[in-house]
Symmetry: C2
Subunit: 343 residues, 2 copies
């Protein structure tokens, strides 16, 4: 049993609206996988239509004029689905406290398998890879719009509006969009949201665009210069691109994540730089998942893993980062991203 | 103890990013109110700075390169804050299952006070009313942009982009924005997100804009006509405005919510129409909360309640709705919304 949003989407196909936070007319959907492998979804009646064909969807009250105890309804439905179970494997932290209290009252043993579920999501099937490709089409379009629209005098928010418009026009709908979108000295801070600052004659835009399409996330970053930025910035950007190339090349089955991380950091350090964040991470129904590419990690890469690599370098008043998404295959690593990472 | 986002913001001032769903670098923040009234917040170190001065903030790992068990950390911090407690009042459904399991293992009694907490949020202090006013400035601006930008040939998404730009430019930052934003036949469906449809020569835009600013929500709806819409639509809109006026007039201390609902529905029914949703609802740190204005409700209005009223009427291929936010005072009801509701 899990109520982790990413796991629920992964197992059921149900995609929950996230842009305005928890809805008073809904519950976080839950998934129950029965011992035989049958998948039961417990969701608001308003979300049920999104489930994949093989999923047994059991609903609770959605939008309604009348008052309803949706959490209580969900607990009852899950208890029924689990009737007779003595032990249940679950993502314990994700479950509503009311459900856990009800299960423990019935002496059902709870075995936390959160790490196992997170690891299981790391290797993607071909339809999942297709879903990520479709999301990357949106991040590619957003990066192109950011590059095309960037010019001295525009505010970050103006440019941001153009980027989001480009993505939503292409998708034909609203698109959840996580982003770092900063210019000037804020690029040194690794990221942040767009604000009212105007692009100056000599400037940097750091745009990390992370859209969700049909429940699957893309990721991307480019750093774009306006005017003649200093040589040290150009050198750092070149090092980041070299680190990205090197790390991409290493994304092969059997390789340790920690070794990929070390190789990328070494190239940046060789150019006198560093970055205070991970080198990369998996993505799928969440935008940051296994396998994390971090120092010392023993995680071993497998075919079907989809990994966003994002080395960077940050100096005094400036920062650069480049990122693309790569698929681990049995043969050569396949770059899924199509956006321009030139400075 | 509560991990309900709206309750946490209400008690601590901590505002969580919501637009891209749950963050892998965070936990849903929790609030613990101690018997003496002291407020303890348990939150990611990245969110701690947002807390009000009097709040005792205890942090768990935020953004980090290293792996971390943030849910486990949060459980440990809450257990420490509750050390020695035999019974705890809580919003049970909101709590992470891992915390509830840990509390029950220690034989701590859990008393669910979810309804009481929701009722307590319904009456606003003056600083809370000011925060809602500041959010309404944004919905007013969005409504003005929608009205100004509406013309035949534009797509819903184009107009939507202009509305969001106007709101974000005014706020100087990204703004979470829940919305119904539909034209044409979809107005009959009460609402929905913007899509690729183009506005026709004779058309309706139903725009329900719900922005969040600094943790507090506004709400607003207007229906705007393009060209010569049919007389039945004009009559229904006039009835909706009359129902809004009448319901506004009734928002006084001691009045039953069900009576306000009945009065609004009666005016719409008198014009031959109806609406399949509530007449109104409170708003604050959530966009739909107590007091709900629904049929038969015995909820009694009190000064300090902030209520969005939204009667409408829906026919064959068309729908109209008007909404504004009203403050219940000891004297006359005060309309907080400033947007134009003309057809």
């Amino acid at each position: 049993v899990s109520a982790e949003l990413a796991t629920v989407t992964w197992l059921t196909g149900i995609v929950t609206d996230i842009e305005s936070g928890p809805s008073p007319f809904s519950i976080p959907p839950l998934v129950v996988v029965e011992p035989g492998g049958a998948v039961v979804a417990v969701a608001s009646e308003d979300e049920a239509a999104g489930a994949a064909g093989a999923v047994d969807v059991r609903t609770v009250t959605g939008f309604a004029v009348e008052d309803a105890d949706r959490a209580g309804e969900a607990t009852a439905v899950v208890l029924e689905a689990l009737a007779g179970a003595r032990e249940v494997a679950c993502d314990l932290a994700s479950l509503p406290g009311s459900l856990v209290a009800a299960l423990l009252e019935r002496d059902v043993g709870l075995i936390d398998v959160r790490p196992e579920l997170q690891r299981a999501r790391a290797v993607k099937d071909s339809d999942e890879i297709d879903a990520i490709r479709a999301a990357i089409v949106l991040s590619d379009a957003g990066q192109a719009a950011a590059r095309a629209g960037l010019s001295a005098g525009r505010t970050e928010l103006e440019l941001w509006g153009a980027v989001r418009r480009a993505i939503e026009e292409l998708a034909g709908e609203r698109v959840p969009l996580l982003a770092d979108f900063v210019t000037g000295a804020r690029t040194a801070e690794v990221g942040g949201p767009p604000g009212g600052r105007r692009v100056s004659e000599v400037d940097l835009l750091l745009a990390d665009l992370v859209p969700r399409r049909a429940g699957w996330w893309a990721d991307s970053c480019a750093t774009v210069a306006v005017g003649a930025v200093p040589g040290e910035v150009r050198a750092a950007h070149a090092a980041a691109c070299a680190a990205l190339e090197r790390a991409t090349e290493m994304l092969r089955p059997g390789v340790r994540a920690g070794d990929v991380d070390a190789a990328a950091r070494e190239l940046i350090a060789g150019a006198g730089g560093s970055y205070p964040h991970h080198t990369g991470h998996g993505l799928g129904t969440s935008y940051h998942e296994e396998p994390r590419i971090i120092p010392g990690s023993d995680r071993v890469l497998e075919p079907g893993m989809v990994i966003a690599l994002e080395p960077g370098a940050y100096g005094d008043g400036w920062g650069v980062r480049v990122e693309r998404v790569v698929l681990v295959t049995d043969a050569e690593p396949e770059v899924l991203s199509g956006h321009d990472i030139a400075l």
